[in-house]
Symmetry: D3
Subunit: 68 residues, 6 copies
Amino acid sequence: MKISARNVLKGKIVDIVKGVTTAHVRIDVGGTIVTASITNESVDDLGLVKGMTASAVIKSSDVMVAID
Amino acid sequence: MKISARNVLKGKIVDIVKGVTTAHVRIDVGGTIVTASITNESVDDLGLVKGMTASAVIKSSDVMVAID
Amino acid sequence: MKISARNVLKGKIVDIVKGVTTAHVRIDVGGTIVTASITNESVDDLGLVKGMTASAVIKSSDVMVAID
Amino acid sequence: MKISARNVLKGKIVDIVKGVTTAHVRIDVGGTIVTASITNESVDDLGLVKGMTASAVIKSSDVMVAID
Amino acid sequence: MKISARNVLKGKIVDIVKGVTTAHVRIDVGGTIVTASITNESVDDLGLVKGMTASAVIKSSDVMVAID
Amino acid sequence: MKISARNVLKGKIVDIVKGVTTAHVRIDVGGTIVTASITNESVDDLGLVKGMTASAVIKSSDVMVAID
């Protein structure tokens, strides 16, 4: 599958915390931790585990810009 | 201002393209380009220009996870 | 690529309208038209054209529920 | 109420799973299951139950496009 | 239609700016201006005009929290 | 930090409910309650508590428009 989302940040999963319906997956992208809030079902379907190579995928319209 | 969004990726603006209402701002975050689709007004209000230090800010619920 | 987004609706592209930065892609999913607002760059990168088979992909946290 | 969201996909609720704060509602839209992640309060306020007719509503800027 | 989105902020449209595909609609909600970025088609379909009573509708998962 | 998100609605936190991973924060903005669904970590990091002054922050592309 090839997707229109502009931002695909490759890294390694460093942590997965599951709630009752929602899980938080933390991916180390070149030293920066990116947190994804996804469904537990997605974690199971993709077979996500700590240490796995995975990408954080973000649609451009969901990215804001901030300055100090 | 301190915001709840978990993901703040610091980098440098490498490109800004303005449409009639929507602008695309590309930020180099440690060698990876992150594209933000924001309003022209935001570009003007923040005074964003090429070469400037800026962060891509993303709410965790807007981050997906992909594997190869 | 396998993605965490729960909703992948397969159909056929029936219309693409490009603005200066943002494009609207309409996909016929079993008789229902689904509109995606994506960047022009994505349209070009994926080589999207009218008549092509494509899927509308939506993260669960972006789906609302309505009743009459 | 009439809303600007372009995508209103009518179907039938086939499953509701509640977490502590977040619920997953699955709607059968012409044979395709669409999952919505919404608040428990919304499930209660709308009186959503299995078997009910309901629509999945999605803003165009939250729809991505994928090809095989 | 009754929708799951938790936040419905009633106000009056004070400005509409159309781009080629995307429009910005500004709604005065009790003295605060809320900007919505929606498709031109939605502006036309809903017959939105300056001075009209309208609501800004926002899903809870799209709301962040900030402190000074 | 100055952010591109167009909508910053200042108010007072009236309620915080934590799930296992996701929290709901309700902010009173001039008499209207705005609900934010954010991570528990954000609640802790920002030190959010009932009665505190805080803003609901929303990107324009996440705002829809509705009419009666």
